[in-house]
């Protein structure tokens, strides 16, 4: 520590430049982390907030198209419900629609909605923070983001082509989106009518009221659901709630892309730090030889360098994160899907520092090979 701290102060411009690079990477990591969290929220927050253990889709349904292609029969829900490890199993409808909102002032604005059809008395029925709960056949409970876009409780939503009129009666008070589209809960029977393409006054085709997108499963307290056993009995293909996120449009591709960029950033950070300390060690080779000739152990010198790396990485990561969080806070006020969440940020910071230290550790291995003989003039 004696030499480490004094060298940090003495070569502050050199260390500052390196710290600046790490800080810039940290800013980028924060922004990407915020973008990832934002995309997760935009993509699957509607699913995340469902009190569901797993979904059972139509047999053979692939993950990437599960919510748009699957159609199950309500009788299959009864089969699932009869299983010992299942606390509850109810039909769940999911479809994306284009609509127009007619505000109290009479203005019409286009809106896209992800309609979640749920039985108002079931465990899927959303809690409302404002307005009325689900129950009225024409009433919908919307995500807070719908109200943030200027829609008010009491406004009417008219679904394109069908002309079905739905009234906004309440809000969940939080963000619930699916595939970047705001969620609107509506009674399952109304959802079944819309899903069947029946407009106001039309009779839905036969069997329409027996259909849903999937069966929402909730495990009995303390149990784990035997999904394969249930699938065999009910003729479904089930997946856990987390696995079903991949069925949100674009979700897997978006998250994979951002994860890849973040992985590259971590690798670049480790490489930058490793390269810096490699060059730093090479530049100090003669100085290190002198110190080794004085009797300093390899451990003493490596500890010193690792302290320098820890200080630089910690300080520059902290500075970068503060700047990133500051800039990110501005982004949260824009339409960009961006969310600053403590958990992912802490993980990102630890990864950045940890991998940077790994890079530094690989570089300071050169210290072992510094020959103290080089300190003597005749051996130089």
């Amino acid at each position: 520590m004696f030499l480490a701290w004094r060298e940090l102060v003495f070569a502050r411009a050199r260390f500052g430049l390196m710290g600046g690079v790490v800080a810039l990477i940290a800013i980028l990591v924060v922004l990407l982390s915020g973008l990832s969290s934002g995309l997760v929220n935009d993509g699957v927050s509607g699913l995340q907030r469902l009190p569901v253990t797993a979904f059972a889709f139509a047999e053979g349904t692939k993950t990437d198209s599960a919510f748009s292609r699957s159609t199950v029969n309500v009788n299959q829900a009864r089969t699932w419900k009869g299983r010992d490890d299942v606390g509850d199993a109810v039909p769940f409808g999911n479809m994306l629609v284009n609509a127009k909102v007619t505000t109290a002032a009479g203005a019409q604005t286009p809106i896209d909605l992800a309609l979640f059809g749920v039985d108002p008395g079931s465990f899927l029925a959303p809690a409302v923070s404002d307005g009325a709960g689900l129950g009225d056949p024409d009433g919908i409970v919307v995500s807070q983001t719908v109200l943030d876009d200027g829609v008010a409780i009491g406004d009417t939503v008219v679904i394109d082509r069908l002309g079905t009129r739905l009234k906004v009666i309440g809000t969940t008070g939080d963000q619930r989106t699916f595939g970047h589209v705001d969620v609107a809960y509506l009674p399952l029977r109304t959802w079944q009518q819309v899903h069947a393409g029946a407009g106001p006054g039309d009779e839905a085709r036969e069997g329409a009221y027996e259909e849903a997108t999937a069966i929402a499963l909730r495990a009995r307290d303390g149990n784990e659901i035997d999904l394969s056993g249930g699938d065999a009995a009910a003729g479904t293909t089930s997946m856990t709630l987390e696995d079903s996120f991949g069925a949100s449009p674009g979700y897997t591709a978006e998250i994979s892309t951002l994860t890849l960029i973040q992985v590259f950033l971590y690798a670049i950070s480790a490489l930058v730090v490793g390269t810096f300390f490699t060059v730093w060690t090479i530049q100090r080779k003669h100085e290190l030889a002198v110190v080794r000739a004085m009797g300093a152990s390899t451990g003493y010198l490596m500890r010193d360098t690792m302290i320098q790396a820890t200080v630089i990485l910690t300080v520059s990561t902290a500075v970068g994160f503060l700047m990133g969080v500051g800039g990110g806070a501005l982004l949260t006020t824009t339409p960009m899907p961006f969310a600053l969440e403590a958990g992912p940020l802490v993980v990102a910071a630890l990864l950045l520092v940890g991998l940077g230290l790994a890079g530094a550790a690989a570089a300071v291995g050169r210290i072992v090979r510094v020959d103290p003989l080089a300190a003597l003039g005749g051996q130089r």
Binding site: F2, R6, F10, E287, V290, M294, G295, A296
Partner: protein, 241 residues
């Protein structure tokens, strides 16, 4: 000073209790390089330097002076022979043990001081104590020692702010601060003018006697030899009076 392979061994005058202290090199041989390129750097070298004695080793480039310092300073293991430091053989010690001997018992003064650029003159001494694992009061007082070598007024200056002579003075103080038994000095006047060279060697002679340390100085500079207790000559790896 004579240079002859037939002269008596450089340590032959010292016997008894006097021989147990200081540094003793016994029959040391060291070959460098491989195959046809092998060079005998040290050839059956015998040397005893008592505590408080200042010995100079002169010789042409490539004669083995630096190799002698390397072997005496536990930087290199000799092919044959042994190096005794206050009666303890350090030549066959492990790398870890050699490092311990260097930081606790051996002081090096390098060409041009070889000071650490980031450290002030005072910190150079504190650093040496830190490397040796010494606490304050366990070696020389760094500030007092700097005063003693005439560098007290430059304690807060870094190497690039010091002249060549000042850097050497700090280097000498750094080597002595841990109270070593042996001081090994490598061409201390190589980058200094005549007057400063004389000052530095005078200081080395004074500190050798003051600190009762066994000092070996290798040098090309014949003008400073008058301050030494003994002058030895090295030619082709062989040491003689």
């Amino acid at each position: 000073m004579t240079t002859s392979h037939t002269s008596p061994r450089p340590d032959s005058r010292r016997t008894g209790a006097e021989e147990r202290g200081g540094l003793r090199v016994e029959g040391v041989t060291l070959a460098l390089g491989d195959g046809d390129a092998t060079v005998t750097a040290l050839d059956d070298v015998h040397l005893h330097v008592a505590s408080g004695e200042f010995v100079a080793v002169v010789g042409p480039s490539g004669s083995g002076k630096s190799s002698l310092l390397a072997v005496a300073g536990a930087l290199t293991t000799p092919d044959t022979g042994r190096v005794l430091l206050d009666g303890v053989d350090i030549s066959r010690a492990s790398s870890r043990e050699k490092a311990r001997h260097r930081r606790e018992r051996i002081g090096f003064v390098f060409q041009s001081g070889n000071l650490i650029p980031a450290l002030t003159a005072l910190d150079q001494l504190r650093f040496a104590l830190d490397v040796a694992g010494r606490r304050a009061g366990d070696g020389h007082d760094p500030r007092e020692l700097l005063d003693r070598v005439g560098m007290g007024h430059r304690a807060g200056h870094r190497p690039h702010q010091l002249s060549g002579g000042e850097r050497q003075r700090v280097g000498i103080a750094r080597a002595l601060v841990t109270r070593p038994a042996v001081l090994l000095v490598d061409e201390p006047t190589a980058a200094l003018d005549r007057a400063r060279s004389d000052d530095i060697v005078t200081l080395l002679a004074h500190e050798t006697h003051e600190s009762a340390v066994a000092t070996i100085m290798v040098t090309h500079d014949h003008d400073v030899l008058g301050h030494c207790d003994r002058v030895l000559s090295m030619v082709d790896g062989r040491l003689s009076e």
